[in-house]
């Protein structure tokens, strides 16, 4: 791949005289870390708790523990956003899929790239302060790209989870490794692409692997030592559930319950290899000491014949006690999923109107189905779901050998892309994919940690694909506005107190829209896919907006390696 080619080139320059002609073009040498000596101020728990009110920094992947991605600063607003221009561009060493959420701590920005590299940058100038180049183990097994979505800082430690399934603490000043913990065995299909969430000296992390027959989990590790504090299996030993025949919206899923019961009698509960990855950060409710997250698809993705039951807690919202990891409540969107239309996009905590119009603490999630689901935070129950943001057709036709057409395609709706919310307007902003697909089923036994899809989903080449940005009123479920985009969207979105939303497209466009009506107010061409969530911060009295432009593996959007910061004059 490109990064290795590049590194080989650098190595050839550096040691060319020593090794001479022996340094061949394809020598695979990893890029070396560059240690630094950055001036950093330690991040306190109090700062993290108040991140939602802090316009100077952008302390967490999704802005704050509630994950609103609502930035409280408003220097850049609807009137002046047209003057936004590039402040600086930083080029990383890795030219692959870029899904990083930049975080900013007192003038220092931390970004990550594919293959788990971390950079500390001067957030004002883009100058590199240090570079941690992870020495990847030989065995990595992952779905959908060698991505990394970011880091979090607590104290003077930067927390990173790597593709080869390690959790690490780095020294925020230098980039040196402080401790490393193995999370799980990559040879069995485990990998990490999400940013850890660090709260109250606990590092919270989920796992990927739903395409490999893992048993998913969310864990807490001690931030000081890396020792595991608790583990929650996302697949309980009794995964059978209530034999639900309808999805969260009341549509029949065409399950053959009797056939499933017969299989259950024969093979028992399939919990041990049932998947249930957790791709994205949990929300933390500081008032109740609870966390909320969503669990991904069952394994194998499209073949349900050997996993009888509802496959709890796949495709579900789950809440746990932060201190103990004990189960509090769950809500399953799709029982016994055979379409991979699972739950990925991070949950958001906002106050919502319940069915009687009373304002209560809510939690919302944007599904691959194209609905935004609104829940009661107390018991996870569903209050309402939004109008569909993408075309839905033929739901829920069962996959066949020849392939059955159904919309949405298996990427969504809303993929892993985080949504943003603007509580003042009661709006949630989501970016969507529209990819007509056929769903194919094949059956095979558990393949020892190998790819286990149970079939395939195929884009129909003759059908037009597109994307959209949709604003949904989460108190009514109605779509307020929608902007169509020429290609399916993946990455993320940011809302600001300046009345704007910022998001990017696979064709390199990065734009600002009026958050009340979707009117486009400014745009920029980045030259590579803008498929990462934007962030915003203030330095020296100036507001900046920053985003990664590095394309995307999953949708094969043009790769690049730029981190681009914008500001006003």
């Amino acid at each position: 791949m490109y990064v290795k080619g590049l590194a080989a080139f650098a190595a050839a320059l550096g040691v060319g005289l020593l090794s001479g002609a022996a340094v061949a073009q394809e020598v695979k040498q990893e890029k070396q870390s560059v240690l630094g000596n950055a001036t950093v101020s330690p991040v306190t728990q109090e700062q993290l708790n108040a991140a939602d009110k802090n316009a100077k920094d952008f302390l967490l992947t999704n802005g704050n523990y509630a994950q609103t991605r609502f930035y409280p600063g408003k220097q850049i607003g609807r009137d002046n956003v047209k003057n936004l221009h590039v402040a600086w561009i930083f080029q990383t060493d890795v030219k692959e899929s870029l899904e990083t959420s930049p975080i900013v701590v007192d003038g220092v920005m931390y970004v990550t790239t594919s293959f788990s590299h971390v950079y500390a940058l001067d957030a004002k100038t883009g100058q590199q302060l240090w570079h941690y180049a992870h020495k990847m183990g030989p065995i990595t097994v992952y779905c959908c790209g060698p991505n990394n979505r970011g880091v979090q800082v607590l104290g003077d430690r930067v927390y990173l989870a790597t593709l080869d399934s390690k959790l690490m603490a780095l020294n925020a000043k230098t980039g040196e490794v402080v401790w490393t913990t193995n999370i799980a065995d990559p040879e069995l299909g485990y990998s990490e692409t999400m940013a850890p969430t660090v709260v109250k000296d606990k590092v919270l992390i989920g796992t990927n692997g739903g395409e490999y027959g893992i048993r998913g989990f969310v864990r807490a590790y001690d931030a000081k030592t890396g020792k595991q504090l608790w583990n929650f299996n996302t697949i309980p030993e009794n995964s059978v559930g209530v034999w639900a025949t309808k999805d969260a919206t009341g549509r029949d899923m065409h399950r053959n319950i009797q056939a499933e019961k017969d299989v259950l009698a024969k093979i028992g509960d399939p919990y041990a290899k049932l998947g249930g990855g957790v791709w994205q950060n949990p929300s933390v409710d500081l008032a109740t000491n609870r966390i909320y997250f969503v669990v991904g698809n069952p394994s194998p993705d499209l073949d349900g014949s050997n996993r009888p039951g509802d496959n709890l807690y796949t495709n579900s919202l789950v809440s746990l006690d932060l201190d103990t990891g004990k189960y509090v409540c769950h809500f399953q969107y799709i029982a016994h999923d055979v379409w991979d239309l699972d739950a990925v996009s991070p949950t958001v905590l906002v106050n919502v109107k319940d069915k009687d119009g009373k304002t209560i603490p809510g939690v919302i999630h944007a599904g691959k189905t194209g609905h935004i689901y609104v829940h009661d935070r107390k018991d996870c129950s569903l209050i309402r779901f939004s109008e569909a943001m993408v075309p839905q057709e033929n739901m829920w036709v069962l996959p066949t050998k020849e392939g059955a057409r159904m919309l949405p395609g298996a990427n969504g709706g809303v993929e892993w892309s985080p949504i943003a919310t603007d509580p003042g307007q009661e709006l949630a902003y989501a970016i969507n994919l529209h990819q007509p697909m056929t769903y194919h089923v094949e059956s095979s036994a558990y393949p020892n940690g190998k790819l286990w899809l149970g079939g395939a989903f195929k884009v129909i080449p003759s059908e037009k694909q597109s994307g959209n940005i949709t604003a949904v009123n989460y108190n009514t479920g109605k779509i307020k506005w929608q902007v169509k985009t020429p290609e399916p969207m993946i990455g993320g979105i940011l809302a600001t107190a300046g009345g704007l939303v910022f998001t990017g497209e696979g064709n390199g466009k990065f734009a600002a829209y009026n958050s009340s009506n979707g009117k486009e107010l400014w745009s920029f061409r980045a030259g590579a896919g803008v498929n990462a969530p934007p962030s915003s911060y203030m330095i020296g009295g100036k507001q900046y907006v920053v985003v990664g432009a590095g394309g995307n593996t999953q949708l094969d959007y043009k790769r690049g390696n730029n981190i681009i910061a914008f500001t006003l004059d």
């Binding site: 695979k28 040879e187 095979s444 393949p447 790819l451 899809l453 079939g455 593996t553 790769r559």
Partner: protein, 188 residues
């Protein structure tokens, strides 16, 4: 075992490789007979292993030994190796340059068909940009045409049973599209 390896990390890996330097050469001597002394396989149905991803090479040796991937030729060879040997052998070959087999680029119409088929299943989502592979996913760019055709056919009829996911994807792709992909990938 695995965990220990991971904890000791890079230092241990280097040490092991170093102390086994000579024995590694001995161990891989036999491979050249088929996979080529210069990295170019001696027969068109034999895969290129020079410059291949280390994780992938290791997994294949492991699977041959376990019998998850059937091969009358490779199974007895792989059976002699322990996990450490396999990792070292994989690392050894991954460091070699990928050989240019001099296969022609696919004609435009074939390439277009291949790219459309690839986009439909999303091959680059795993095999990555320009089909270079990574970790346990193999490089396909410039692989021998006959081997590609053979192993894809083997995936399709599950004679190659060590990755049902790949079999599923191949079964969902028409033989026509696969033929175009073989020509396209060989010529990259």
């Amino acid at each position: 075992m695995f965990r220990k390896w991971m904890i000791c990390g890079a230092a241990l890996l280097l040490m092991v490789t170093a102390t086994r330097a000579e024995t590694i050469e001995d161990k891989v001597a036999v491979c050249a007979g088929c996979h080529g002394a210069d990295g170019k396989p001696v027969d068109k149905t034999i895969p290129t292993i020079w410059g291949q991803q280390a994780g992938y090479l290791y997994i294949q040796l492991r699977d041959f030994k376990r019998g998850d991937r059937k091969s009358d030729i490779m199974q007895p060879i792989a059976t002699q190796f322990e996990r450490d040997d396999m990792l070292a052998i994989a690392e050894y070959f991954s460091q070699k340059p990928w050989p240019d087999l001099g296969q022609p680029r696919a004609p435009k119409d074939v390439a277009a068909k291949a790219v459309s088929a690839s986009a439909s299943v999303g091959c680059p989502a795993c095999h990555l940009d320009r089909f270079q592979g990574d970790g346990t996913v193999p490089r396909l760019a410039g692989m021998g045409r006959d081997y590609l055709a053979k192993t894809i056919a083997d995936f399709r009829n599950r004679a190659r049973g060590n990755n049902p996911g790949m079999s599923d994807l191949m079964l969902a792709t028409s033989p026509d599209d696969l033929a175009a992909l073989v020509e396209y990938l060989a010529g990259l």
